[in-house]
Subunit: 331 residues, 2 copies
């Protein structure tokens, strides 16, 4: 069966059956944003991301610096979703022989700029040639301080669903970049797409100070992430369309292209904001402690319900199914 | 400047200057087979390898199972060279959408077969689409037990240079595979190329029981690895051509193709045997304890000399420069 028929998630299920191995030191495996591994007295958190030219990025509108930043941001965001402290990065890089070495170095500079902000050391990797395209793999090793980390599996009916920042900006940026014309680099939605800010400090705060146990990063779009939490927590959810935070610049781009801004937020992905579940009775306390520390908004966008209610979108008083609309490879 | 002008090692030097960051927890960085990182009370050992279709392997003569095995072997061999215990593997995989899912699963089965033998759990990774070729990245996390590990930097003049097993078999296998005809799968040199055996237990024994401090795996050819040790240890070396262990089947292939068997051993690479330096006075003891444990041969192939003597090959009483002849990407 071809991958285009099996789909990304179908393939992952089959892979899981092959690699299954009883290992008591694997505290959290392939299903989450990152794996958690017991290693002596510490809990390691490890994540890896592949990034392929003409699939994940195009040099039409990404500079090599942007590519490095973006790849590092995606990986940092995975650790942010665990509430973990990132520490070390390893890079696999395959580039064509006729590449200008300055481009490769600029790619490293992009990674380094973001790594420095978060105390991450780029330790090593493998550099090799590729017949035509750039292929990148980045692995990050971090620590679950005190052995604590968030998963996708802890949401309970009655919990509120909360997002950091606002959504859809990255999709709007991509729309503008791909739509031709001359997008200005300082355009806020273009910046969102090219230079996203992973919520590392925010994730650590939510897990270690605010006591959040269920979190995911928004890399595939809000709808897809809500589905992930529901599947792994064994719950349902209702997302309140009118509450989903969408920045004014994002709305403007949607209008310009005749798109629906909510569509960008639900299915656009790559915002690298955080989505977490919090018991209703803890919400006020979480919000207050957050406000003492961060200026970024927190917004309640829905609630967790019983599993038999499924995953729904409530919009203008009408409740309908919310399909998992994020990007799936191979489909 | 194009990468083809800078070369792989020139590029790595430039990358090192960019990513340089003072981090006391990086015990060993980008220069060795793997990085060693302090993490609480444990010393983590991490390595990563990129593996690109039509650069590192061809489906003309690699099955997906072979690709998985080979990639896992290369990474395990890096940890073997540190004397480390491998524990967890992470896979980045980009494959074309029209790939048969059975091929992807067979690739995982190849990795799993070798991982199981060495107590490694394949924990997770990223699976994505590629426009045309397979791109693979594998990262391995292991432990430097008791904080001990070998490096490339500890060789001293007077030390003996010793290799495990025999060399050149993988190059002979590749020659036979690439030479057309119908290589038999059971052909020992073909097996050497497609299903190499990383020397994980042997590496751990050498570091933790035999006290070896300087070791490297032979992934680029003996000449190249001797140069790496000399550069990082600040020494010279003489390799004794007549002593380099070459299996009879390897000699037969060389004869068949009109090649020199020693060339396969010196510059063919991918044998994944170990090369280590041992003080002359310890050699007998190391050899005896080894023989109690392993049936694989150990062979003294040369000696470490003063840095000003350079890296030489002594053959038939004639001493000449030994160039670093291994594979370099981009050159």
């Amino acid at each position: 069966m071809r991958l285009s028929d099996v789909g990304e998630f179908g393939l992952i299920e089959r892979i899981k059956r092959i690699v299954a191995r009883c290992d008591p030191d694997v505290l959290l495996g392939i299903d989450d944003d990152a794996a958690v591994l017991r290693f002596g007295d510490v809990a390691l958190v490890v994540t890896t991301d592949a990034f392929v030219q003409d699939v994940h990025f195009r040099f039409d509108y990404f500079s090599p610096f942007d590519v490095g930043w973006r790849l590092m941001a995606a990986n940092l965001s995975d650790l942010a979703a665990m509430g973990s402290k990132p520490r070390f990065a390893f890079v696999d890089l395959a580039v064509p022989r006729d590449t200008n070495s300055g481009q490769v170095l600029e790619f490293y500079e992009g990674m380094k700029a973001l790594a420095d902000r978060h105390g991450v050391t780029i330790v090593g990797g493998d550099t090799t040639s590729s017949p035509d395209r750039w292929f990148l793999g980045l692995s990050l090793v971090g620590e679950a301080e005190g052995g604590r980390f968030a998963t996708r599996a802890g949401a309970r009916p009655g919990d509120l669903l909360v997002v950091t920042g606002d959504l859809g900006g990255s999709a709007a940026g991509l729309r503008r970049l791909a739509g031709g014309g001359r997008p200005r680099a300082e355009d806020s939605v273009v910046q969102r797409h090219l230079r996203p800010e992973p919520r590392v400090d925010e994730g650590r705060f939510l897990v270690h100070t605010a006591g959040v146990r269920t979190m995911i990063d928004i890399s595939d779009g809000l709808s897809s992430e809500v589905h992930h939490i529901c599947r792994l927590s064994g719950v349902g959810a209702i997302v309140w369309a009118e509450e989903v935070p969408i920045h004014v610049a994002t709305r403007q781009v949607a209008e310009e292209f005749g798109d629906t801004p909510l569509e960008y937020a639900l299915n656009g992905g790559e915002d690298f904001e955080l989505l977490f579940a919090v018991p209703r009775e803890s919400w006020e306390e979480v919000r207050e402690s957050w406000q003492d520390r961060f200026s970024l908004d927190l917004t309640v966008v829905g609630e967790v319900v019983a599993p038999e209610e499924g995953v729904k979108l409530q919009e203008g008083g009408v409740v309908r199914d919310l399909p998992s609309g994020g990007w799936q490879h191979f489909s």
